[in-house]
């Protein structure tokens, strides 16, 4: 589904990602962990070209997103993204937030988009908030709306960039629950997270990124209990 080949990303002289290659299969849930500044968010943002890629290739569903002829807007329609800061549109209601992209990018009729949006809101437990504005919601509710907004495009892949890091502790559970359900339904997911419990329980594979490279990757049961790399050991001893 996602094939990353020799991905490099630099800001000027600063090399943030140094030659990352990884393949993510359909329906796989991959968690990306690592210290802040390790490059894990940059890695995720390269997957839908929110960060321009310095060198290497990212191939999503057979399409090279770095190719000159690639239509990045078309590709992004298939790649949902959820941000740490939610980034809901504050001047639009919850419902309008969700139906905007399907209507404007795919020309979905309003009634159809609305039906789908209500279905998704029901799924994330916020049907009664359809008419509210983002400013009236709690952080956890905002993030669940953001997930519904991304799902409204029927993406093939969902990218999560530290989706619970800006939430009050008591809100984290609701959001993780929605993500867990999504994983169980077979969504392909790449999740940058500090939630080791979630990574351990839900993911099929965990990537540990350190200093711009994948220092170690394994199934969670192995990586968390039996890390082989010294840096993984050091990181896990701090966060677990």
């Amino acid at each position: 589904m996602i094939d990353v080949r020799n991905l490099k990303k630099s800001y000027g002289k600063l090399e943030v990602l140094k030659d990352i290659s990884v393949e993510i299969k359909e329906k796989e849930v991959v968690c990306v962990i690592g210290a802040s500044g390790s490059g894990k968010s940059t890695f995720l943002r390269c997957l839908n070209r929110l960060e321009e890629i310095t060198d290497g290739q990212v191939i999503i569903d057979g399409q090279d997103i770095t190719a000159k002829e690639a239509n990045i807007n078309k590709i992004r329609q298939e790649v949902g993204m959820v941000f740490q800061q939610f980034n809901l549109f504050p001047h639009k209601t919850v419902l309008e937030n969700i139906i905007l992209a399907p209507m404007k990018t795919r020309g979905t009729p309003k009634t159809e988009a609305t039906n789908k949006a209500m279905e998704l809101l029901d799924k994330v437990g916020l049907k009664e908030k359809a008419g509210s504005y983002p400013g009236e919601l709690s952080g956890g509710q905002k993030q669940r709306v953001a997930i519904a907004r991304a799902l409204a495009m029927n993406p093939k892949v969902m990218l999560f960039d530290e989706p619970t890091s800006a939430l009050d502790p008591e809100m984290v559970g609701d959001v993780l629950e929605v993500m867990k359900q999504l994983a169980q339904e077979g969504m392909t997911m790449v999740v940058v997270t500090h939630e080791m419990g979630f990574a351990r329980e839900v993911s099929d594979r965990v990537l540990f990124i350190d200093e711009g490279v994948i220092a170690e990757q394994n199934v969670p049961s192995e990586l968390f209990t039996n890390p082989r790399n010294k840096r993984t050991q050091a990181f896990l001893s701090k966060v677990l």
């Binding site: 839908n48 929110l50 807007n73 078309k74 992004r76 329609q77 790649v79 949902g80 993204m81 941000f83 800061q85 980034n87 809901l88 549109f89 504050p90 001047h91 905007l100 992209a101 404007k104 990018t105 504005y133 400013g135 009236e136 953001a146 907004r149 991304a150 495009m153």
Partner: protein
Amino acid sequence: MEAIMNALPYLLEGLKVTIYIFVIAIILGFIIGLIMALLRLSPIRALNWIAKIFIDAIRGTPILVQLFFFYFGLNSLEFISFDRTTAGIITVAINAGAYFAEIIRAGIQSMDKGQTEAARSLGLTGTQNMRYIILPQAFRRMLPTFTNQAIISLKDTSLLSVIGIADLTQQGQIAIAATFKAFEIWLVVGIMYFLLIYLLSLLSSFLERRFELR
């Protein structure tokens, strides 16, 4: 009192001209400002420079000189001719446009980058992002500054009397020439401008409340 009553129809006639010129100029000015702001933020260097030169040239010269340039200057060229009202509207519009451009640019740049990232990650194009996400939010923020500039532009229209446009100020001068009641007439003219500007700020605070983010 009688002098004022006699002058009033002429002053109201002038007020109409002032409002007419102001409304057209401010709408044109807004369009010019929006285009210039977008050029200024465009990734294409040349467009950037066009907007920058326009804005600097207008902000760097007195409006009276611009007025003389557009009316006397351009009209002295053989292939151009327009009447004083057109020259007056162009002057106020272009002047407002240069200031609007900077207001709009600052408004767009003050928007949280996350808004654009969210819109683009959903597959919206850059233009769609501007139109549906960035500008609607930026305009709300800019409303008080817009009002400020609109008030300045309204006052600027009084300069147009210099080239003989029959606006409120010009009609005041004519009325004084006929009645010699300078104190009373200028007082009435001042009150008329004041009421007009007061209405403008009422409209602005109404719009601000109307579009307040909940």
